[in-house]
């Protein structure tokens, strides 16, 4: 009998002799440069646009002033437009990098902080903070001011993330159906409790609550930026440190641990810092949905799923997207303002439906 030997192996070469092939139409780095340029242009455009148009010359004039003389233009530029643009950039980046990390942890592109209830958890606690700040929490509130609400929101997001992750992950893998259903449950619960709280809230608090559920960047000022920026910057730094480990999570937790990843530590970093960024952003802007879903998905299609550039580029694209959305929100029906959460949902929900259509029959998404 003759046995045909398949060509198992070519003569092996040592690694140094191999040809290194470069690939990809768009490298991660190219996209980073491209997005940075777009972000700068979008920021300039956004600063100049609004109910009152600012020309480039006017902007330069204000920055060139040395005597810091108060003028309406100076006030508009430095105290209204600039903080708002910066807040859009920081919040857009914060939400997107959290999306990347959470999707990496859940091993699923549908794990969006809004869809799985992390945002609602943050909002619920933030609203609880507002409502009770008139009574039980009065002392804490006056002492810590803005920070109290932010802290509450962070705790709410953290608890929700932990809850959803615990519920959805068993037997060594994350069950997408459970994850999304748990998200629906948490969102419904948060909605119900929020509704209940509106009965106990004063007129002013009611306005705050409405603002929260629709999302807006109108509370932008330097004080707020001082809270949000460090939280997002810290999240970015911590998440960047674990991007190689997140790459390995794509293989599954067991495989990652076989390769020397400290799986528990990585999980905790993702959970704590995503909740930090989402929670703090929510406490300032309310619910802005779908940014964290759309941005990483587009970039994965463009430059691949490896997390290093995915994280950097998501921060940039998230910033751009929210900046454009916010500019539209405050100019489309000027001098009134559209809630930005409404705009991102109008854009994001069809995108999500499209993703679900794509996912049909694709076991990769686990649906």
């Amino acid at each position: 009998m003759e046995i045909a030997e398949p060509p198992i192996k070519e003569k092996s070469k040592s690694p140094s002799q191999s040809v290194v092939s470069k690939d990809a139409l768009l490298s991660g780095k190219t996209v980073t440069w491209l997005l940075t340029a777009i972000l700068l242009l979008a920021a300039l455009f956004s600063i100049s646009t609004g109910a009152y148009k600012l020309s480039f010359d006017q902007m330069l004039e204000v920055f060139a002033q040395t005597d810091q003389e108060a003028s309406p233009i100076r006030y508009l530029l430095l105290d209204i437009r600039l903080p708002r643009v910066l807040l859009a950039v920081v919040v857009g980046a914060g939400l997107s990098i959290s999306g990347v990390a959470i999707q990496g942890l859940f091993r699923n592109p549908l794990a969006d902080p809004t869809l799985i209830g992390i945002t609602s958890g943050g909002m619920l606690f933030a609203i609880g903070g507002i409502v009770f700040s008139g009574s039980v929490l009065a002392g804490v509130s006056s002492f810590l001011g803005y920070t109290t609400i932010a802290l509450f929101s962070f705790i709410g997001s953290l608890l929700t993330t932990l809850l959803i992750f615990r519920m959805a992950t068993f037997g060594g893998r994350t069950h997408v159906t459970t994850m999304l259903l748990a998200g629906i449950a948490v969102t419904a619960l948060a909605g119900a409790i929020t509704g209940l709280m509106t009965y106990f809230s004063t007129e002013d608090q009611l306005r705050d609550i409405t603002f929260w559920t629709l999302g807006s960047l109108s509370s932008a000022n330097w004080k707020v930026l001082l809270i949000v920026s460090p939280a997002v910057a810290l999240t970015f730094l911590m998440l960047m440190r674990i991007t190689p480990a997140l790459d390995l999570f794509m293989l599954g937790e067991s495989e990652a641990s076989y390769l020397g990843v400290n799986v528990q530590r990585t999980k905790w970093i993702v959970i704590i810092f995503s909740a930090l960024a989402v929670g703090i952003c929510v406490s300032v802007t309310g619910i802005i949905s779908f940014v964290a879903l759309i941005v990483p998905h587009i970039l994965r299609l463009l430059t691949g799923a490896r997390h290093r550039f995915l994280m950097i580029n998501s921060a940039l694209l998230g910033a751009i997207l929210l900046l454009i959305a916010d500019t539209a929100a405050r100019t489309l029906i000027a001098p009134a303002e559209l809630p930005i959460g409404v705009l991102t949902a109008l854009l994001g929900a069809p995108f999500f439906i499209w993703m679900l259509m794509q996912a049909r029959g694709n076991s990769k998404l686990g649906i």
Partner: protein, 268 residues
């Protein structure tokens, strides 16, 4: 060398493994066979450090498993699992490069890429480097992961023996892919002097590719030794409750087992 001394594993008050002792030397292929539920996969998980054990000890190069740092251990032993489902699609070369994680801070992207390319050449998939892994067949994907495992252990300058643990790598693969993968495993053991521990279902594959076989039943070792010593009618009946016929292989220099069924008469 991997040395396992009197290893016992209890999971949820159930004794899964009891007093297992074995060793894997560099350059040899050791196959673990046994019926479903014999504890083969648990044994592999315990040896790899994934499952904690209630008694006994596992040594890698004379150092107890518990004393190894996870990244250090990852440079010495790699594991190929049965099914790996990537959560996001990656290029083949990127999947293989994931194997370099234990060396992450010591080398740059270009060096990683070179080693990954070398590993892909080893498994004859160099031409697929730029393909998305999801476009490959199941057998090819498994070979990509085999390349990733090779990539993980590649460190010619480091001293100390290295080991590959393969958990039923041929399950749900067609005949030609099974053959390719096992041949590769054997070549790696011989050429790179790696110790290979492999869980197999097929006794004939074990007979052909393993230097030694460990036969398990209900968490214990029934027999251990060369294929000739382990693959006897008594042992096989003890472990699988199947009568069989054992002959010399008509082509290769190994044994061939023909299962006759649980109720077959033993007139052979």
């Amino acid at each position: 060398m991997i040395e396992v001394h009197q290893l016992s594993v209890r999971i949820a008050k159930k004794q899964i493994l009891k007093n297992i002792s074995l060793e894997v030397n560099p350059g040899e292929v050791v196959a673990v066979i046994g019926a479903n539920g014999a504890g083969k996969s648990t044994l592999l998980k315990a040896i790899s450090g994934q499952t904690s054990f209630s008694g006994g000890e596992v040594f890698y190069n004379s150092q107890p498993l518990r004393q190894w740092k996870s990244k250090e251990l990852a440079r010495k032993r790699a594991i190929l699992s049965q099914h790996i489902n990537l959560s996001f699609s990656l290029k083949v070369i990127d999947v293989v490069m994931l194997g370099r994680f234990p060396f992450f801070h010591q080398e740059n992207e270009t060096q990683r890429r070179m080693i990954a390319q070398w590993a892909l050449e080893k498994v004859a998939l160099a031409d697929f480097a730029q393909r998305e892994i999801h476009t490959l067949s199941g057998g090819e994907q498994q070979r990509v992961h085999f390349a990733r495992v090779l990539c993980q252990l590649h460190s010619p300058d480091e001293s100390g023996d290295k080991f590959m643990l393969l958990d039923e790598p041929t399950a749900s693969q067609d005949l030609s892919q099974q053959y390719r993968l096992l041949t590769l495993a054997k070549e790696v053991a011989r050429e790179l002097n790696y110790g290979v521990l492999i869980i197999l279902h097929d006794m004939n594959q074990a007979a052909r590719f393993a230097d030694r076989i460990i036969m398990m039943k209900q968490g214990r070792i029934v027999a251990s030794g060369s294929p000739g010593q382990v693959l006897t009618r008594q042992h096989i009946f003890q472990a699988f409750q199947v009568n069989c016929l054992i002959q010399d292989h008509p082509v290769f220099d190994c044994l061939h087992v023909t299962a006759l069924g649980a109720t077959a008469t033993t007139k052979y």
